[in-house]
């Protein structure tokens, strides 16, 4: 049975986040004039990294259950890490934890134990900044992900398969990504094929499609292309989806089309929840 390997320090897994940072990501998002897609997505990715670090925190030690890459694509295709991690790929989570580009102070509401919320000042790490320029070189980004995956898999052939979380707001400008997507999906470990999940976001109010099991209800060929290179969600991910309030039928794929801000939040929550941490 695939996707059951324990994730441990000796048998880590890997996340690669592919981020569309093309010019159109500067457009508004979620009906708010002030909110740009690129800003929102950067914030969610930073929150996702924050949560992954917290999950690996024991006492003052970080256990290297995960290796992380973030590939931004737009005017160029490169590691989206800022600061000390700039240019780095497949970074162990402990190195991610200790090297945010900066720590911002944010206000967080936490339960006070008496049924109310109180505000706390917390340190919030920033690893990536928003980017929005150039076209949408999706194929080049997938190629770079493939190179990294092949390198990682050569050293971790028995672990929980890597997860690639791809977020875009538009069609590829450097060719059809189908073949490259299929090549990625053909890679894997003894525990299963790599997981490629795709999230398309839209600035317009359009009917969103979340985690479908078939492509018949999809609005156009681009949506069908992304659906075709999206993995079926393994059971542990479907359970994670349920916990975030999303019901995914068996056979449902890690694919969102015309996603809104809530979809993006859920996409990263669901996509980073492989079970079996040890």
């Amino acid at each position: 049975m695939p996707y059951v390997a324990e994730i441990s320090r000796t048998n880590p897994t890997c996340f690669i986040i592919l981020l569309d940072q093309s010019g159109s990501m500067a457009d508004g998002f979620g009906g708010s004039e002030g909110l740009r897609k690129s800003d929102f997505v950067a914030d969610i990715v930073n929150k996702t990294l924050h949560d992954l670090v917290i999950r690996c925190t024991k006492a003052e030690e970080i256990r290297n259950y995960y290796h992380i890459s973030i590939i931004g694509y737009g005017g160029s295709v490169q590691s989206a890490f800022a600061g000390a991690l700039g240019g780095k790929t497949l970074v162990p989570i402990s190195e991610v934890a200790d090297n945010p580009a900066r720590l911002e102070t944010r206000t967080k509401k936490v339960p006070d134990g008496a049924g109310s919320l109180v505000e706390h000042q917390v340190r919030f790490p920033i690893w990536i900044d928003a980017g929005a320029s150039g076209g949408t070189p999706m194929c080049a980004a997938l190629s770079q992900a493939k190179v990294q995956l092949e390198q990682w898999l050569s050293e971790h052939n028995d672990g929980f398969p890597p997860t690639v979380l791809h977020l875009t707001d538009g069609e590829s400008t450097d060719g059809d990504p189908t073949a490259l997507g299929k090549e990625l999906l053909s890679l894997g470990t003894t525990d299963g094929s790599i997981l490629l999940f795709n999230c398309h976001v839209s600035s317009h109010r359009a009917a969103k499609v979340e985690y479908p099991s078939g492509d018949s209800g999809l609005p156009d060929q681009f949506a069908k292309t992304l659906f075709g290179i999206s993995s079926v969600l393994p059971e542990s991910f479907r359970k994670a989806a349920e916990q975030t309030g999303v019901n995914v039928s068996e056979g449902g794929r890690g694919f969102v089309f015309n996603g809104d801000p809530a979809s993006v939040v859920q996409f990263f929550e669901i996509g980073t929840r492989p079970a079996n941490l040890r």
């Binding site: 006492a59 970080i62 200790d98 720590l103 917390v122």
Partner: protein
């Protein structure tokens, strides 16, 4: 093996999950043979410094004389322990991720057991929260488990004891209690969840050979033998790769 009055033979085994060091084991064991108090706790892997919370809890509980079970004594007891742990953390300069995780606190499951003499009878009293388990066998045949009674009940998300004071009351409302009389030939196992699940599954499937081997290894305090025994169970998928805590008390 430790001999105490009232005819109790005590055996213990504690080991980390495969791939972890002994110093990383989040299960904890403590007992005081003279006072006939025994405790097993299982710190939540996902929480902050759960090893410390589990160890602090069981060690403090077996030291209290008389042992605390009732809410009016138990609540201030765990409140003070939680405060002590958070004070310890607050003295350190923590990196951002530890600071964040501390805010969530620690959690632990536990099972506590106390024997006492009333008249000429040996009685026992137990409390438990979460998925640590007490298994009471009579002549190694009749078997009652508490608070979990069937193997399929493991694996859910049990209510655990939080280190954060404001969260404790709600958890303490879920503490379960059991009591009874003990006789020579009785056998009590205090175990964390992985062993509890495996043991009950064996009973349900009527597979006695493996549990007899387990009994022989614990009786002889064969730590290496038990290490290999659980290693084999892990490699064949019969037991989850998790920390293991076993305290076995034979009444004679």
């Amino acid at each position: 093996m430790i001999r105490v009055p009232y005819g109790l033979r005590i055996h213990r085994f504690l080991a980390p999950k495969k791939g972890s060091q002994p110093g990383e084991c989040e299960d904890a064991i403590a007992f005081h043979a003279g006072r006939m108090v025994f405790a097993v706790a299982d710190g939540a892997t996902e929480a902050y410094d759960s090893r410390s919370w589990a160890r602090l809890f069981v060690r403090a509980w077996v030291r209290i004389q008389p042992p605390v079970f009732e809410m009016q004594e138990f609540e201030p007891f765990v409140r003070d322990l939680g405060r002590r742990l958070h004070r310890k953390w607050s003295k350190r300069k923590l990196p951002w991720y530890a600071e964040e995780k501390v805010r969530g606190g620690s959690f632990t499951a536990f099972v506590l057991l106390h024997f006492y003499i009333a008249g000429v009878t040996l009685h026992w009293k137990a409390s438990a929260l979460g998925d640590c388990c007490l298994i009471h066998r009579r002549n190694l045949t009749d078997c009652n488990a508490f608070p979990i009674t069937r193997s399929e009940e493991f694996g859910s998300h049990p209510i655990l004891l939080p280190s954060i004071e404001s969260k404790q009351r709600r958890a303490l409302d879920s503490v379960q209690h059991a009591s009874g009389a003990a006789e020579p030939g009785d056998d009590f196992l205090l175990v964390s969840d992985a062993v509890g699940c495996w043991f009950l599954k064996q009973r349900e499937n009527g597979e006695g050979e493996t549990t007899r081997l387990f009994d022989r290894l614990t009786e002889s305090n064969d730590a290496d033998g038990l290490q290999n025994f659980f290693g084999d169970l892990r490699s064949t998928g019969q037991i989850r790769n998790d920390d293991i805590a076993v305290v076995r008390i034979e009444v004679y």
